[in-house]
């Protein structure tokens, strides 16, 4: 339950975040904030599954579908993103069910589930690259600039508008996280992540519960991809889909903290600041370094701080643990399924 103090803290924090772009207008810094918010939303979406031991490396695929389907519908059919985004989300949702159902029905868990989803990421990347006549392939793709109504085209020039949109979407992600955290579905999914047979013996429809959370996670990730595309107005297969993007989600969620609502957001702050610092400090010489640093960080975190930065800080502040000690081991298991 949310106490008075926490509610007040959230209200004040949110008011400050909403007021920020009206007080502080540095476009570069706002740009970084928008990126952080959009990626936070994507990482939060991933963590909805990840926190229950469903480690997906397929989320790059969902994100790519969100971005490309929206942009393709706009450029080729002239369909407004207001309709294109729901369609792209539905497409990602259908794909999630097609991949998820056989996995869950036939109990493909742990390493094998990771491998299946990894293949999904790879396939989406390959399809985007292979259909270069439509998608521009690895050179990237740009939604056409609208000459008409900017709202209809979901294209805005000023950073403040985008900041507020990204903030709203991010907030939706956090709210959904909390709704699930406080629902009976969390009990069921925690139970499933420990022991599927015992969960079934308690009456849980294991396949349905797993499909439900997978669907929610995929829909949200596709939305993140679409919003990213509308904001950047330029997407490439490597920036919105594929295995690298999927891995980045895992890094960020684990580094920030998988079991707390703001953990993935902390992860996004760290990964994006890191990438920007490397880009500005070292320029083109540092291309790809961020991935190297993520890799090293991930290894260190899994060993020394499995609950992530925010999770560990909150634990220190709290006199009494809400979760048992065994939980920390779980975090390691989630990062290394089957270990």
């Amino acid at each position: 339950m949310m106490g008075q103090g926490r509610l007040a803290a959230w209200t004040v924090g949110l008011a400050a975040l909403v007021a920020l772009p009206f007080v502080y207008r540095d476009p570069y810094h706002l740009h970084i904030l928008v990126l952080i918010l959009i990626w936070s939303f994507a990482y939060t979406s991933w963590s909805m599954m990840g926190r229950f031991g469903l480690v997906s490396l397929g989320h790059g695929g969902f994100m790519g579908i969100g971005a490309y389907v929206t942009a393709l519908l706009w450029n080729h059919v002239g369909l407004s993103p207001w309709i294109g985004i729901p369609i792209s989300m539905a497409a990602a949702g259908v794909l999630a069910l097609i991949v998820g159902y056989p996995c869950f029905r036939f109990r493909i868990t742990g390493h094998y589930f990771v491998l299946v989803t990894l293949a999904l990421s790879g396939i989406v990347l390959q399809v985007i690259t292979a259909t270069r006549d439509y998608t521009g392939g690895s050179l990237g793709y740009t939604p056409s600039r609208t000459l008409g109504n900017k709202l209809l085209a979901l294209q805005f020039d000023d950073k403040t508008t985008w900041y507020l949109i990204a903030l709203g979407v991010w907030l939706v992600g956090i709210i959904v996280w909390h709704l699930i955290d406080r629902s009976m579905s969390r009990y069921a999914l925690e139970a499933i992540s420990e022991d599927e047979d015992a969960a079934a013996a308690a009456g849980v429809n294991v396949t349905a519960e797993k499909l439900k959370i997978t669907l929610i996670s995929a829909l949200m990730t596709a939305l993140a991809g679409a919003i990213y595309c509308q904001y950047q107005m330029f997407i490439t297969p490597d920036t919105v889909s594929g295995i690298a993007v999927s891995l980045q989600m895992v890094f960020a969620a684990i580094v920030g903290g998988l079991f707390v609502s703001l953990g993935p957001t902390v992860g996004a702050v760290i990964t994006i600041l890191l990438a920007e610092t490397l880009r500005i400090g070292f320029g083109t010489r540092a291309v790809g370094w961020d991935n190297l640093v993520y890799g090293v960080l991930l290894v260190l975190f899994i060993i020394f701080l499995p609950k992530g930065i925010l999770g560990s800080v909150l634990d220190r502040l709290k006199p009494q643990r809400k979760v048992p000690r065994a939980h920390e081991q779980e975090a390691v298991q989630i990062a290394r399924p089957g270990a």
């Binding site: 009976m184 420990e194 047979d197 013996a201 308690a202 009456g203 294991v206 048992p324 065994a326 779980e330």
Partner: protein
């Protein structure tokens, strides 16, 4: 209320349960005994939906349930405990039971599930405190939790799988009394699988004995305990221990 006929389960070339038929009446406690590997747990797993029978029929309250998924069978009113307790350690004791109360009763209302959890925890004698961790429970506590989870699903028929393994004598008697209370107070029919024959014989109304996947005897505890076939397969052929055990079983059954 439960009518099993011609139940068969094969794993490859091995027949774990061979043509077993039996009936359980409303309000009865049926004991199911037999040596290790005699097919008791396999029968339980088929009744609860964890395993699909190779052939045969399981009628529960007049409906065929053989081959239904476990969550469907729970929702029809058959609850189970596991031989080795399987608590969810990432949830509190209360959440463990509330989960079963919610999903086991067809996901109606959270308030109802939490009520069921409180009732079940009180019934088995566990604290109803909402924050107590499973890690604080010992062997006896985990068995109680297992039972509370099954009760929270509001079963009409409870499948209790070797619920006394690993307990001392006093705890065993206590647990046996609890099963009887569950039947007497809640009117729940029980099938009880147990290794420890003495305690079982004292509580059950009827007992069924399995060996190598086949039913070899069935009837009142005092009669079955004296059945030479049962004594031979279940207690071994060593004359002295056999007689002592049979005497003990009769004494327990009588008392």
């Amino acid at each position: 209320m439960l009518e099993v006929s011609g139940l068969v389960k094969r794993f490859g070339g091995f027949t774990a349960v061979n043509n077993v038929s039996f009936k359980v009446d409303q309000g009865e406690i049926l004991g199911l005994i037999g040596p290790n590997g005699s097919g008791k747990s396999t029968i339980f797993n088929m009744l609860s939906g964890t395993l699909v029978p190779t052939s045969g029929s399981i009628l529960f309250a007049g409906h065929e349930i053989a081959g239904l998924g476990p969550h469907r069978i729970i929702n029809r009113g058959i609850g189970r405990t596991f031989q080795i307790p399987r608590p969810f350690r990432r949830l509190t004791i209360f959440e463990n039971v509330a989960l079963a109360g919610f999903y086991g009763q067809g996901r109606h209302s959270r308030a109802k599930a939490e009520e069921a959890a409180e009732r079940s925890l009180a019934m088995v004698g566990l604290p109803t405190d909402r924050h107590a961790s499973v890690d604080g429970l010992g062997a006896a506590g985990l068995k109680k939790l297992e039972l509370a989870k099954a009760l929270a699903t509001a079963p009409k028929l409870l499948l209790a799988d070797e619920s006394l393994g690993g307990l001392d004598d006093a705890e065993m008697d206590q647990a046996a009394d609890m099963l009887r209370n569950i039947r007497d107070q809640l009117g729940i029919t029980i099938i009880w699988v147990e290794h420890i024959m003495g305690v079982l014989m004292r509580v059950v109304d009827r007992v069924m004995v399995l060996d190598h996947g086949e039913k070899i005897s069935e009837g009142l505890p005092s009669v079955v305990a004296g059945d030479p076939r049962v004594i031979e397969v279940y207690l071994g052929t060593d004359a002295e221990t056999t007689q002592a055990a049979a005497a003990e079983a009769r004494r327990r059954a009588g008392g």
